[in-house]
Point group: C2
Chain length 182, copies 2
């Protein structure tokens, strides 16, 4: 998978062949096809692996009161921004593939829809438990997912433009602050 | 420029040649080079043209009180989301080029930095004129630009996932609501 990231980033998804990935990783094609049915499946496994960290952070925080869930999530930020670091060409290749291939598109769109659902129920819970002011949970959730995507995209496009991980943490705190009932 | 958008979106930036763009547009190569020095310059002109609408909306609102500036800006949203509509492959191609070419990268990063500066001073102004609560203008501006980028990206990736233009308008109102001093 490391060999694939390297080749996809340097040469693009289309140009990188299974042969080259195997050569780079020092494994046989038999070994490759034992784990992945195709280059596409490897590609989807890479995305899944990366999203797993975000999902685990969400899962670990799920029994806490809603405001604490957000704080707990920020603990995953260093990993997220660090691994996203040099991944811009890789991410863009991925989205470009997604825009041209229905299966990849569905796999790449599913997480955003999942996060949207997740934050909608988290905010609903916060309102019900009396921690949060009355807001439209759907809308607030859209804003959270959008802010997260925008921050991640900017950290990819302009890594030196700001301390993105700190901006993400401060933004989360500002957001929770805005939601808290006083 | 319409011919270029069509070819860039369908075939990718790299594959679309000046010859093909000229054939598609029904113009001579002489006419092309009268307007653009290179394919790259045409590409940058496309980005500029699209961003011009956002800049004009910001410019038109600049003498209003800060909260009204935001409301005025939402009037540009229908155009922004409509034109972004089928542009996903085009945008992705653009960013992919940007990640591999310093000149395009600088041109594509400049607007975000400009918007960040703009919203920072707008929020500062709002705090000074007494409309907005005391917030960190730098941070609030980062959140606004991030939310905008995230919404736009989601509208490109998942056009049918929500009514993005409405979400953008409601988000702006929610944001201004959160900033308003009561």
């Amino acid at each position: 998978m490391e060999a694939a990231i390297k080749l996809f980033s340097n040469n693009g998804y289309n140009k990188a062949s299974v042969d080259e990935i195997c050569a780079e990783a020092g494994i046989s094609k038999g070994a490759f096809y034992h784990h992945f049915k195709s280059k596409q499946e490897l590609f989807l496994a890479l995305l899944d692996g990366w999203l797993q960290t975000i999902d685990s952070a969400i899962e670990a925080a799920k029994d806490l009161p809603a405001p604490k869930t957000f704080t707990r999530m920020t603990e995953a930020f260093p990993y997220i921004f660090e691994t996203a670091g040099d991944g811009l060409p890789m991410f863009l290749e991925f989205w470009l593939q997604a825009s041209r291939d229905k299966k990849i598109w569905e796999a790449s769109i599913a997480p955003y829809r999942r996060y949207h659902k997740h934050f909608t129920s988290l905010i609903k819970k916060g309102v019900e438990e009396g921690s949060f002011v009355e807001v439209d949970p759907e809308l607030a959730s859209r804003m959270i997912v959008s802010t997260a995507m925008g921050l991640l995209l900017q950290s990819l496009l302009d890594p030196k433009g700001a301390k993105w991980e700190k901006v993400a943490r401060d933004s989360t705190n500002m957001l929770v602050d805005g939601l808290l009932k006083r």
